[in-house]
């Protein structure tokens, strides 16, 4: 054998041996210790898109922005009422059209500049100019005026009972006017704010490794109580089982991706806690009564479907029992709900009878849904099975979210699964969005339900501020839409979250699902 070939062979085998050695060395190195007490790590299922409060409409992203910005008013702990935030006080004119806010002095943005009335004005003018989703919440605003350094005046076009509450939402976050300097091609700084924060909240986004994690650190100019947590990391762990494993090992403190059926097992493991709170999130079935299958125009058919549904089975399967069947469109815990409202029960015989009464046979319907909610696949298959028992064929149409949204907007479906959670604690969030015949499609009325009497009742209720009168009108409307089975009123789900027991101070506010009060949390 010659020298050359010997060298080649030994090089080749050396290569293999070294590769094996490196792997061995790496594997045997000790695993790292548990995380520090001033660092909170949240496991998220997916990376985030963009963080501009004037553009984002997704609670998942709000978990970053909410603690980085402050708002004129804030939700009060677990309560859905608002309390002073940046504004120390406000006055409302007698005609309910003018709101005057007085800012608390001393608040500073993360670059040290003061939060002024100008900044408030800049924030809302920018939001309206950008005209994305958040702007839809402020259509009532006619003008925002500065009157003195710390006073800002909002003038409305019409009475808007929910105005104050929308200010406490994520889109009410006050943006540092210095972002104007970051403007690219007239985007009002959108590209910059998509992956930066510029607020006066307790935290600042300091690092975003795409696909890996987002890192929040304390805003050193924050004027409030200094938070305990120095760092909050939002780590992307796509798979539910991995999150489960990482939570068990203490690698993450909160696991957002735990699926319904895992919670019981997670709760049993030492060191874990599962929080389980009623929420205002409801899971419903859109029944397209205008553009869908002609049979759905008949309320009797919709009633039949409502009777055919196995509510208990749905709750047991998709939420492992952690939900309650709805009583009409407004969830429990929201004022305006009719506690005596009619509730459909599972009654296949009755469903069949109603179908016969409507003269419908061999009904075949498409059920549209996406993978957006992890339980929808199971839910869709159960509904298919439920309706089959009543003699209705259901064809499942699993569609990607973007496509499903477009189809919902266009009304090209018969049945569709949906969830709805209120942006502010007002029944109009349900009644006016769901049933107003002006809101067909994505705007809210996804059953394409139209009833002039209901329109009249709910429009009236939305324009007045007297809660008693509003309740009466809404209850009247509810009776109609329940009887006409405008939607399949499925269930109101609990909000469950898996945490390490060492995580202290977490407060759940039903208006702020998926958002953590990191500034007041700590780790034991």
């Amino acid at each position: 054998m010659t020298q050359a070939s010997r060298t080649r062979i030994s090089a080749l085998s050396a290569f293999a041996v070294i590769t094996a050695l490196v792997m061995g060395m790496v594997v045997s190195a000790p695993a790292n210790a548990a995380t520090s007490k001033t660092t909170l790590i949240v496991g998220m299922s997916a990376d985030l898109d963009f963080l501009d409060p004037a553009a984002t409409m997704d609670n998942a992203q709000w978990k970053i922005t909410y603690p980085c910005y402050q708002r004129l008013v804030e939700y009060n702990g677990a309560n859905t009422d608002v309390v002073p935030g940046l504004a120390s006080s406000w006055t409302i004119s007698a005609d309910n059209l003018t709101y005057t806010f007085t800012l608390k002095p001393g608040n500073k943005f993360s670059d040290g500049t003061a939060v002024t009335a100008k900044a408030v004005q800049y924030t809302f003018q920018r939001l309206l100019k950008i005209a994305k989703g958040p702007a839809d919440n402020f259509t009532a605003v006619a003008s925002v005026k500065v009157s003195g350094t710390n006073t800002v005046v909002f003038t409305l076009k019409q009475v808007s009972p929910q105005f104050l509450y929308t200010l406490a939402g994520n889109y009410g976050g006050i943006v540092n006017p210095t972002v104007a300097a970051e403007e690219v091609a007239g985007d009002s700084g959108q590209a910059y704010l998509a992956n930066h924060t510029a607020g006066s909240g307790a935290y600042v986004l300091t690092d975003w490794k795409k696909g890996q994690y987002l890192k929040l650190e304390q805003n050193k100019y924050f004027s409030g109580t200094k938070p305990v947590l120095k760092t909050v990391l939002f780590k992307i762990v796509g798979d539910a089982s991995s999150q489960r494993l990482q939570l068990g090992k203490g690698e993450i403190d909160i696991a957002e991706g735990i699926t319904s059926d895992q919670f019981d097992a997670v709760a049993k493991e030492a060191g874990n806690t599962v929080m389980n709170k009623p929420s205002l999130t409801v899971d419903i079935l859109y029944m397209n009564s205008t553009k869908g299958n002609a049979a759905l125009k008949d309320k009797v058919v919709r009633q039949a479907i409502s009777y055919a549904l196995d509510y208990k089975g749905l709750i047991a399967t998709t939420q492992a029992g952690n939900a309650t069947q709805m009583r009409g469109p407004i969830p429990n815990g929201m004022w305006g709900q009719d506690p005596k409202a009619f509730q459909y029960t599972t009654n296949v015989t009755k469903a069949k009878a109603l179908l016969a009464q409507a003269g419908v046979s061999n009904l075949s319907l498409d059920l549209l849904y996406s993978a957006r909610q992890p339980w929808w696949a199971a839910e869709a298959q159960l509904i298919q099975d439920n309706l089959a028992k009543a003699g209705i064929t259901v064809n499942l149409k699993l569609t990607e979210y973007a496509t499903a949204r477009q189809m919902i907007d266009a009304g090209t479906f018969d049945l569709c699964l949906g969830v709805w959670s209120p942006d502010y604690a007002d029944p109009s969030m349900f009644m006016n969005f769901w049933f107003d015949s002006n809101n067909f499609g994505l705007a809210g009325n996804r059953s394409f339900y139209s009833n002039p009497e209901v329109d009249k009742l709910i429009r009236y209720a939305a324009k007045i501020t007297d809660q008693k009168k509003r309740t009466a009108a809404y209850i009247k409307a509810q009776t109609i839409v329940i009887d006409e089975a405008a939607y399949g009123y499925l269930y109101q789900k609990n909000y469950r979250l898996a945490l390490r027991s060492s995580v202290k101070g977490y407060v759940f506010n039903p208006m702020l699902e998926q958002i953590y009060n990191v500034a007041t949390m700590s780790k034991a």
Partner: protein
């Protein structure tokens, strides 16, 4: 034919695979008769039961018998894979052999388009195609067929080029035989062997591709018992209900392995160069 099978079975390696394949084929054909439970009807009260004598592989989150679903899924995975590969082979052979025989600019255009197709990562192309066509099992099959198409086009072209250099094609041209006849009667029959080899090697890959598409949420629509989709759901139950993804994954693994070993066996049988 019989002799070839005998040859396959004689080898312990391929013999085992051949028997598995027969079982798989039997299951695929007769699955409706073999499943102890309906693979589709839900039964919420029986959800997530552990394997036992009632449910050999346990039940899923909707109370369906996983054993029945795996059996029923055989037909879908194997059938669609066969359909996709045969479609790709048929179209690819046709285009490729004409391209190779006629040559000139047509050949250039066709070969550059295979370049373009090959520049896409297979799975991503399949993903995009089945997303574009809308998620359904037929569209997934079409997507896989398109992804596999360039392989057959290139193979058929190379073969056609070398066959058109053979003396029998040269002879045929001396009696004024038309191109269509040459392609149909001389080129296509003679390139079938490498195509059959390629088909037998590709089926396993196609089953994996379908499962992967299903896993990523494209492909079969629920409640169809498609293996990839079953793992995708079952994956979330890995820790507490290990049987759900485990048996399904094993079903894919065994099936694909059987096809691959048989594919290798067929190649060794038909292509003596690689075998002996």
């Amino acid at each position: 034919m019989l002799k070839s099978i005998k040859q396959l079975v004689k080898n312990r390696f391929t013999g085992g695979a051949f028997i598995s394949l027969c079982v798989i084929a039997f299951i695929a054909i007769f699955s409706p008769l073999l499943t102890p439970y309906s693979p589709i009807d839900t039964k919420p009260e029986d959800r997530l039961l552990a394997p036992g004598h009632l449910h050999y592989f346990g039940t899923d989150e909707l109370g369906r018998d996983i054993f029945s679903r795996i059996l029923a899924g055989t037909r879908i995975s194997v059938g669609i894979a066969l359909f996709a590969i045969l479609l790709a082979a048929f179209v690819g052979t046709f285009i490729g052999s004409f391209s190779g025989f006629i040559g000139r600019w047509i050949d250039q255009v066709i070969m550059r388009s295979t370049d373009v197709l090959l520049a896409f990562p297979t799975l991503v192309l399949a993903l995009a195609l089945s997303a574009a066509l809308g998620p359904s099992i037929v569209n997934a099959a079409l997507a896989i067929a398109i992804v596999k198409l360039p392989i057959y086009m290139r193979l058929a072209r190379t073969q056609a080029l070398s066959i058109s250099q053979t003396l029998y094609v040269k002879s045929a041209r001396t009696f004024g035989v038309k191109s269509g006849w040459i392609v149909r009667r001389h080129i296509v029959p003679n390139l079938l062997t490498p195509i059959v080899i390629q088909i037998s090697l590709d089926i396993g890959d196609a089953i994996l591709l379908i499962a992967t598409l299903g896993f990523l949420g494209l492909g079969a629509q629920p409640p169809t018992p498609e293996w990839g989709a079953m793992i995708s759901t079952g994956w979330n139950y890995l820790i507490d209900q290990w049987w759900y993804p485990t048996f399904t994954g094993a079903a894919i693994f065994i099936t694909v392995m059987a096809f691959n070993i048989i594919g290798d066996g067929i190649r060794d049988l038909l292509d003596p160069k690689a075998g002996e």
